[in-house]
Amino acid sequence: MIQQFTKTRWASLLIITAVLVGFSCSEFDLDEDPGKSQLAVLPYESIAELDLAVTGMYNRMWAALRMTTAFVSAWGGDDLTTHRASNKADFREYDQRAVTLGNARTRNTWRGVYQAIRAANTVLVNVQGVDLPDRATQDKLTGEAYFIRGMLFHHMARIHGRIALPLDIVPNPDITLASQEEVYRQIESDYLAAEGLLPTTSNTGATRPNAGTARAFLARLYMDWAGFPVKDNSKYSMAASSAKQVIDNAGSHGFALVPDMNTLYTLAGSANSEGVFTIAHCQPCGLGNRKTGKLGLPGDFGGWQESFAEIRFFEDMPEGHRKDATYHREIPLDAHGRVTPNVAGAASFIPWTEFKDQQNPVFKKITGPFEDNIFNGFQNSRSDYYMRYAEVLLTYAEASGRAGAETGDAWEALNMVRRRANGLPAGEASSEVDVTSGDLAEMAYTERKWELAGEYQRWYDLVRLERVKEALSNRSPQVSIGTVFDADGNATPTPLTEASNPILGSLETDNYFHPLPPDEVTQLPGLGGG
């Protein structure tokens, strides 16, 4: 056989070997080049990189807060309720003060908000020690990251009280639950850092925060800090001075009350001076608002029957311009019996007391005016006020009262809100509505109740002032006459006597804050300390 192994064959073997080795040379470099299609997590080398990361953080914040899910705890308030059956169990649990550990909205809020916090941490970690040529822009963007992180910690603290405070992007399996004071101090530190870095003014509606935004949120923080559970009353004066500082510089921050409250809750009015911090939505961009629209309508009209108005709260609210801007009392229908945006040409109107499924007033703030035609959509481009200037005014008034510093300016802040609520120019004194004596703090507190109704804020006022029991023990309708229909559709007027969803859980302070999602505690045992 060896003889057969001629020179030609040796030659061919050599050629094959050469080919083989030839291929191989290029084959042993197996290193990947992820940079060809993906950005790496590295310190920023340009404003453009930083800007991308900051925009990405806003997207995560938007994703976390775009739905009612992140505001589910607000159903504890006496302004809001939900459908008594249907798939609204997660909301109902908060409404009835009997929240189960498995509540998916609690879990999803935790997930969404902490994802946004990581996005803020990504910016703050990678801007550390970086000095980019355009320092002003770097500072502005860094300030935005501090603000968003502080605001999101604050959001979580209002739901759970004590929370986790991750400040890095690397997971720390040994993280522990921060004490309530640590939580507030971290939020304060983030807001202060933001204030120091942010410009005086940003854009109309402040979808990007400015220094005034950060200060206004400090005022909100101090109000919470002064109340339950820390009850550090010294914080009221800090809340007052912070709010005052924002009010004094409102012009340069671009903050002011809009003249007509009705315009606040419209598509056209999305960007306006009243936004101290506004979450921007853009439906065609795939970035729609899912906190407003059809979820406020009852099922009779194709609604998602999620955010209904409590009847008693509605009954108690003073009549007037503001109440009309807050509620729809009736639904306009076309000739086919469908809800119509053409209110002027509506064939008929169904009052809320004649809804077939569940009789509650409808929040106009949530469904929008029918003319805006967002009532039939589960998403839209309307803005969402995370804080309105009216709140800053009322915070100033209430904090001043509670700090025992009832200045004329504090009364004026309250009166501005009252005047506008009555359809009067906010800046012009009115003998009809102005108040200058009495318990300023309590008057401001009550004014907040009406001013911020249906804006997912009321619950937090009840918590900080420990008034949950007081407010929720008193929800039975007094004067509303509903309707019972028989099998032939004949209506019998019948008084409404009970709130839509009865209270099932405790109204005491041990049921104010909600346990962390069990998954988190399983994975991070250090968070079990609460």
């Binding site: 192994f5 290193d31 992820p34 990405g56 941490n121 065609p284 999602p517």
Partner: protein, 998 residues
């Protein structure tokens, strides 16, 4: 195998000189095939000499030979014959085809082995095994025919993905699909392979067999060998028409809209609301009926299938050419699947030492309105139809579609008939695969083979979707996924026999490279409903672009030694050394060894009246998995956007993945013992294998706690074990002149268990969440349990009037659903079922009586549950199916009749909806008749009628327990099997076909 035979016969002819001897005379004759036609190019050799000739055009030959000489007649694909010359001067030979040829050789990767010399666990399916069943998919050919292989059709849509698993599932995160190797080229997609092109399928199951594929071998390997031409030219044409329909509609209250309306009123009244339907509306529904959306979205689908192939050989060139055209209608309205595939397999013997072959496969298929496009967080289009309001007609008075339920009840989704009618979602798959095989015999012992191949795959998704939300402005989505790969394998084989020793060494050097490019755009909110090609009608804010690129490389060396001692002791040892680009350089290279021993004990059973052969096999090996995406070891940023001005979005980046530079392959070690038994002179055969497989260092996507932003870090943690049995039995029960009955039984049992997790965790939450706003997690991974655990509440019926006080503590009333609760009164959520089958079997019978043949194929799956969320949605009263629609709701709880059917809202995720999935199916029944040759030289004709999925024996109440369905982004399908949120039913199919041969 054909090529080996050919090489041997040509060698005999051409290697040697011509030295005519004395005493010779001329022998002539004609060599004919089974049809009596002359065979061109058959070889005639005087045995033991160098003398040989080749037959001419008419099949005639002429050779010089002596009286005592023995002539050997050989032709590719036919049984050789030897005839002693004697005093004959004319010797005519009729060759018969070698049908056993493929059975005798098993493809084991980088070579073949005689079945009797096999040491590993390999199941083989040949074209013969499924020739009596009209098969349009490779997976159908495999299902129930290969022990150890589980084939689950999750979805009855034509062209839909079918899940194939070999010996259980190993990976919790990575893909568990086997590696598919077609004619030596790795990484093919089983779904697009044309079954008509397949000669044999060899399934490598144990690690001793799969270790030659090293880091790609852990899920088993399916070796596919496509057909080659042989002998006289042969043309086959097959045409069949198939009619598909929904086997059985599900009972719902859509059948009885008046009762639906009454219950809907009750649902309202029970929670303090008012009736929605007046008595007069109900009596109208009673007399006029409503709309049954289940029946409206389904149709009888008609499909046509034409397959043509030509094969044969001319001199040293053999060819197999085939084309198939398929035009299938789904049973879902507007759902179609069209496919054209072409194959050209050519092989040339350039010289006695050099053979080269090139196989080219081109395929284009288009699936329209497959179920996937219209599914979302609220279930599939089937689930939506099953839960749609039967009191709202399809069209309004003006003839336009009713978009939503007029009364805002039942499903909150769009009218499914409109969605299917007006949307146009196409998945267009264009594919070109090539495989070049060149073999050069350097010496008689040493052969070099080059296998090189490419795959080009363009998959386009072009979607025009009208079910988009409340503004009803249509969306278009376009994605092009361009996948390109190539492989170069250099193979050296050295083989030598010394007395009783036979040694074969195979060395391989190989490189593969795969790149994937995705480009696409979204155009949302088109201002006019014009169709897919009007993306420009979207506002600027609604337009967005996406693209991506990734590349992966694999560099490998493999050495295999096969040793046979005295025909009886067989040893195979392999080692493969793989380097993959998806891991960093320090963790990149892995060595995967295996060894297998087999012993032929045929002498032991030599005198047995029953058994005629016996072989014992044992093997051990390690294989790997590199099933993580490219760049998985790097942290990276993804993109998103935000619109600061409410109207135009700016790009943003966000951290989406974490770095883990230490990541390395996942290792599967497997031990296998087996026995092969031949019964009654080969009339029957039995094969039994036991395996024990452990997968460690799992490539697990370890969830990052939500506190740190969620997402995953890939880590090598955890362990999964699979142990089981594969059994196959083949037997010719009757074998007489007129009547034959062949039966084959395959049975597999696998026990799957998660034996290690991480951080002392006993359970990891899965990623599959229930549809319709409840978003509770349905599946878990539980230590000590098989993958595929279902999680939910424990259903205990209803609260009764007598329990009113206790119910009130939880805010419940009599008639409300009752679930088991813990000591604190919290509802318990725990494991309530498992969706991974333990037992799979197939029983195939072929009968032939004269010209008739009958095929009857039964198969079954056992030992698993189905989480029938679809039924939960039909039951309704929750989520996005607001109204009760289950037909048993007529017996719901009332104060007078306290049944266990709740009258109010309940969870989807409860044990109420877990059902046993066990089933037995008549997969195929075919009756065929062979007309034989039509006329003297006319074509042969066979006609057949068959039915697939003719009956199903099961206790399951949904369409079909084999089906499951899923949304995107819900993790590994093997971790959430058996969950049904509205699967496309498996159709019952009646087929009528004709087969011609020329």
């Amino acid at each position: 195998m054909a090529s080996i035979l050919a090489r041997m016969s040509l060698l005999a002819l051409l290697c040697c000189g011509m030295h005519p001897a004395f005493g010779q005379r001329t022998i002539t004759g004609t060599i004919t095939d089974e049809a009596g036609d002359g065979v061109i190019g058959a070889s005639v050799v005087v045995q033991g000499t160098a003398t040989g000739v080749v037959s001419d055009f008419d099949g005639t030959y002429s050779i010089e030979a002596n009286t005592g000489d023995v002539l050997e007649f050989a032709y590719l694909g036919y049984l050789s014959q030897t005839i002693t010359v004697g005093d004959q001067s004319v010797i005519n030979v009729a060759l018969s085809p070698n049908v056993q040829e493929l059975d005798q050789v098993v493809v084991i990767g980088y070579g073949t082995v005689k079945k009797s010399d096999l040491t590993g666990a390999v199941s083989t399916v040949t074209a013969d095994d499924y020739k009596d069943q009209p098969v349009t998919r490779m997976e159908d050919a495999l299902q129930g025919r290969a022990a150890g292989v589980t084939v689950a059709r999750a979805n009855g849509a034509p062209g839909a993905n079918i899940k194939v698993r070999i010996r259980g599932v190993n990976s919790i995160t990575g893909n568990n699909s086997p590696l598919v190797v077609v004619d030596g080229i790795q990484g093919a997609d089983l779904s697009s392979i044309n079954p008509n092109d397949i000669a044999s399928i060899d399934v490598l199951k144990d690690a001793s067999a799969t270790a030659i594929y090293g880091i790609r071998g852990s899920n088993g390997v399916i070796m596919i060998t496509t057909k080659k031409g042989r002998g006289k030219g042969q043309v086959d044409v097959e045409f069949f028409t198939a009619v598909s329909q929904v086997p059985d509609f599900l009972p719902t209250l859509q059948d009885d809209p008046a009762t639906f309306a009454r219950l809907e009123n009750l649902r309202r009244i029970n929670v303090g609301g008012n009736p929605n339907f007046t008595d007069s509306e109900i009596s109208q529904l009673e007399s006029n009926g409503g709309t049954n959306y289940q029946k409206e979205i389904f149709q009888t689908g008609v499909s046509n299938n034409l397959a043509i192939s030509a094969s044969g050989s001319e001199g040293k060139l053999s060819y197999f050419l085939s084309g198939t055209y398929r035009d299938q209608e789904g049973i879902l309205i507007t759902n179609t699947f069209k496919q054209l595939s072409l194959r050209s397999n050519l092989e040339a013997e350039i010289s006695d030492r050099f053979t080269i072959g090139l196989n080219i496969f081109a395929n284009r298929d288009v699936a329209k309105n497959d179920i996937g496009f219209a599914g979302n967080g609220q279930g599939s289009i089937v689930a939506k139809a099953l839960t749609w309001d039967p009191t709202t007609p399809i069209y309004d008075a003006s003839g336009a579609f009713n978009f939503r339920s007029i009364k805002g009840i039942a499903s909150l989704n769009d009218n499914p008939v409109r969605t299917l009618t007006e949307s146009d979602a196409q998945g267009i798959n264009e594919q070109l695969s090539t495989a070049l095989n060149a073999s050069y015999k350097i010496t008689n012992n040493l052969t070099y083979t080059l296998t090189a191949g490419t795959q080009l795959n363009n998959f386009n998704n072009q979607i025009y979707d009208v079910e988009v939300g409340d503004d009803f402005l249509p969306h278009t989505v376009f994605r092009n996924n361009k996948f390109q790969s190539y492989q170069i394998s250099n193979i050296l084989t050295w083989q030598k026999a010394f007395d009783v020793h036979n040694i074969k060494l195979t060395g391989v050097q190989e490189y593969t490279n795969a790149t994937s490019i995705t480009n696409g755009y979204n155009a949302f909110d088109l201002s006019l409903p014009k169709g897919f090609f009007f993306a420009e009608l979207a506002p600027n804010a609604g337009q967005s672009a996406i693209n991506n690129f990734s590349e992966r490389e694999l560099s490998s060396f493999m050495l295999r030694a096969e040793y046979i001692f005295d025909q009886d002791l067989l040893v195979t040892a392999t080692g493969r050394y793989d380097g993959t680009s998806v891991f960093r350089s320090d963790n990149r290279w892995g060595f995967f060894p295996s060894v297998a021993v087999a012993y032929n004990l045929s002498s032991v059973v030599e005198n047995s009246p029953t058994f005629n052969s016996l072989k014992l096999r044992a093997g051990w090996g390690q294989v790997g998995s590199q099933n993580v995406g490219p760049y998985s070891t790097f942290g990276g940023l993804g993109f998103n956007s935000f619109a600061f001005d409410f109207s135009s979005a700016s790009a943003g980046s966000v951290l989406t993945s974490f770095e883990n530079a230490d990541l390395t392959w996942e290792t599967t070690s497997q031990f296998n013992i087996g026995v092969d038994l031949g019964i009654l002179e080969g009339r029957g055969s039995v094969s039994l294998d036991f395996f024990d497989k452990t997968t460690s260092d799992l490539l697990l996507a370890v969830p990052v706690p939500n506190t740190f932003g969620g997402g995953i870090i890939n880590q090598n943690v955890g362990e999964v074990k699979n142990t089981g049995i594969d059994f196959s039995l083949g037997y010719t029960i009757v074998n007489t002149e007129n009547f034959d009955w062949d039966a084959n039984l395959n049975f597999s049992y696998v026990k799957n268990e998660v034996t290690k997790l991480y951080n002392d965790l006993e359970m990891i939450q899965g990623l599959y969440t229930s549809p319709g706003g409840q978003s509770r997690v349905l599946n878990t991974i539980e230590l000590g349990q098989p993958l595929g655990q279902f999680q939910g509440a424990i259903f205990q019926g209803t609260w009764k009037t007598a329990e009113a006080a206790q119910a009130a503590e939880f805010g419940k009333n009599p008639g409300d659903v009752k679930y088991a609760r813990d000591a604190n009164g919290e509802i318990i959520f725990e494991t309530i079922g498992n969706g991974t089958p333990t037992t799979v079997w197939g029983f195939n019978n072929s009968f032939s009586y004269k010209g008739f043949d009958v095929n009857l194929f039964l198969q079954g799956m056992h030992g698993f549950d189905v989480y029938n969320i679809q039924q939960a949605m039909i039951t309704g009263g929750a989520g996005d199916s607001r109204s009760f629609l289950a037909s048993d709701q007529v017996n719901q709880w009332t104060p007078q009749n306290e049944t266990d059917i709740p009258a109010t809202v309940q969870f989807y995720n409860s044990s109420r909806y877990v059902e046993k999935g066990d089933f037995i199916r008549l997969s195929n029944l075919t009756l065929g008749y062979n007309f034989g040759g039509l006329g003297e030289r006319g074509p042969t004709l066979k006609a057949y009628a068959s039915g697939q999925n003719l009956f199903l024996i099961t206790d399951y109440t949904g369409y079909d327990p084999e089906l499951s369905s899923r949304k995107g982004g819900q993790g590994n399908e093997d971790v959430a099997p058996g969950i049904n949120i509205g699967a496309y039913p498996n159709p019952r199919v009646f087929t009528f076909g004709l087969r011609f041969g020329f």
